[in-house]
Symmetry: D3
Subunit: 186 residues, 6 copies
């Protein structure tokens, strides 16, 4: 059962943000609802999230979502697998790719760049203490820049955080995600 | 070797923040230096960090630092163990407590509230997928409120993120931390 | 890449079986195609599978499929998660339940009988050497008979086998499964 | 304590099979006794087992038994280690080899073919999700054919099943196995 | 291949010790042969070993050997499983008990005292950092004294040492152990 | 709570040893106090310890202490991390090196010889069953002799023992260690 914490009053900026969510995707993601317990925390979370997943980067938005799902698969996070699995299906137009990220990314036929990116994400999630220079070298060899490596690390880190906040608080995904983008895009 | 990413120009607000760090603790923590690659990312990180560790909460600042060290001990993060181990020594005035958090928190003689808090932090770090209602019940039984549980989850999550960003980028702690607060406070 | 093994000639009984598959579900499951390398092996596999999943049992067909998915989730088997995840969605009429079995069965709101059944399945998959009388007692307490316990063990065992055969041979699921039963049954 | 399930009546074919067991090895293996709860299940199990372990294959019978013991050693299955440890001693005429398969196959001085076969078996048992094309390539390099790889995967899979059925039901090996083939064959 | 270290000259006391080994058991155990590289190390090792396994204790010699085998089973040490498995068979007169200690001690029908002793040994071997007062309480409840707990800890510790020295140096057991005590004592 | 075992009377040789401890380091290490329960055990332990850590060897005393700390870090042994962490700080004159051994030795900038030594120590601690000839070859390649490999294995083994004895008996380090050698030697 989710934590019983009364929401604070939504300030104007966040009310506008929530309205925009409803307008664009039809609902306010439950993670944002959960953060209404405190405007400062909502701002900090949404600010970091939006910068990380939407700001310009050497990683495409799809690649960032692929990392999100692979991390969440290792941590078996129901909330994040549901929400970001849908995002991979949507951004790729390939529902099977979304399923593979959820189930076992090694089953996907990926190009060497994406495979190296996801292998790094998996190792950084499972044994961060063992990540060393030769792991970074592996990313450089397939073309990632220094800044790209930062961005990969930051996305891996972020979902290792959000997976645990979701588990700690029994956060549940909006049901709408499940049916989204189940048909391949032509 | 740390990532070779040129820093962006520090904006006025962050310049003031850095100046204040030097004034108060004698140096700018290397994690903040690392984030100077991008002002938006620096703001997002520092904003979340300061809210989490310094804003009012049912958890004392020391308790939040104890969680930080226990999480970092499981993930064996050299940066965070060094910086936050120093913080536990400082805030508690008890250098031995700081060492115990780094080495094995089970060796410390803790009251049931803090022990339950750290057991939850350890489980949420090691097997987030297995955290369930009975784990939250364990926290409630020793007196934590719903909001306290959120805060515990959020601190555990945050250091599971920062441990991985530090590992991914080979971030190294300022040497000053090692000698700090090695003498018990009377 | 799947193993390059030429199929044997399908005998009459198996030709009829395959025709029936096409008639009923529109395709021959790839696992059966793979077993055409040897009629004796195809018969042994299909015989055991059909007895296990379809013969009368104290476990419903849905419950057997739920076990199949939970085992395959622990072993991260792309083939079995895809095929049996679809079966859970279909038999339950509840697409969300199917997703939860794939992602983390602990996130589903299950009655105590099914929860105990899946906890036993997970432990038997992850640490078979530690399953003892008190684990069987846990099943008896929620109403399972001796024979039911056998059936649970047999289904868990079977998917621990098939998960590994699929991984060893890079078996890939028919694409049709992904879109099946994505809409809740009224 | 083994499950208390009354046996069904043995049909004529299985009665003959059991009589032959007594004639050839002096007893009916307890796993077959356990399966007398249901003739269809006995037939399915014995059919698959006999095909797998006795039918023509690029793997010798000894090699299939070596795999059986290595898998059962990882899963610490008392039943299968006892019964198949005896089989390795018998088929090889080398009691020490049997002990090494039970204790730690890495301690045996094996030729590269058998070592690669057992390394694959161990990985497929411990982390089936991580078995990929390069693991199959390793088998091809020491001379295994595509069909041999299938057979290795099938034997590994089978004992990952039977280990778990034995654990789930507390199946106990016939005591006769322990003393069998303890003297090296000249 | 064992380490190529030339033996030192055996001093008189150790020559007598070795002669006594040959007289009593027919051979000098290979671990002692290995330690002839240095008389001081041989004395230290044999002194500690003989005190631990043979001196008066609340634990019987058989119980100490049972612990030795359970520890060695977790660490999969071929040398120690072979030598001490033989000792359990010999001291108990029960070859099946010896096999169960090697394969999975949970399969043995033990009284609560011995079961608690071996559960403690297993936990102390696998996760020493998690052994706490309640584990010691479990031993006290089945009748172990403070000194018995020390002795259990010391035997568990010793074999966690010797298992690793054997692995590090590829130490191989004398072949004579394998055939010893395979017949139940009347 | 430490075990309640009354000490035996200290014999003359050990009284002299303890007096010398007080003279040289200001206190008797608690591990020696604990062993006063039995003079034979005290002699065996101290004899092995002093030979191992102080006798001539291809490994420097500092290197042996580095191994001690890395092993104790994996086993999270509060006693040994405290006592031997201090020894690394003292012998190296480099407090940061001591902290790195406690926290994650991979964070230290080590020469290839020491890195190989500690990688071997970590593997031998975590998975002794998987240490094989190629691991020994790795040590030879960076210049270790056969006898050095023995010594590495013996030190790794010893601390895997002492870590477990400390955990089993809740042994606590003398508080004096914490403050020792916190200032870098010029």
């Amino acid at each position: 059962m989710a934590l019983a914490i009364p929401p604070a009053e939504l300030d104007a900026a966040n009310q506008a943000y929530f309205d925009k969510c409803v307008e664009k995707i039809g609902f306010v993601p439950n993670v944002l609802q959960a953060y209404t317990l405190d405007m400062a925390k909502l701002n900090a979370f949404a600010g970091m999230y939006n910068d990380l997943m939407l700001a310009p980067s050497g990683l495409s938005k799809l690649e960032r979502e692929m990392i999100a799902v692979v991390v969440s698969s290792i941590n078996r996070c129901y909330y994040c697998l549901t929400a970001h699995g849908a995002a991979v299906r949507q951004l790729s137009g390939d529902p099977i790719l979304g399923e593979q990220m959820v189930m076992n990314y090694r089953a996907a036929r990926l190009d060497p760049r994406r495979r190296a990116m996801l292998d790094f994400a998996a190792k950084l999630t499972e044994s961060p203490h063992a990540v060393e220079e030769e792991d970074r070298e592996g990313l450089r060899r397939v073309g990632f820049s220094e800044r790209d490596i930062w961005d990969i690390g930051a996305v891996v880190g972020f979902f290792n955080m959000s997976n645990r906040i979701a588990s700690a608080t029994d956060m549940r995904p909006n049901e709408e995600y499940h049916a989204q983008a189940r048909t391949p895009k032509a």
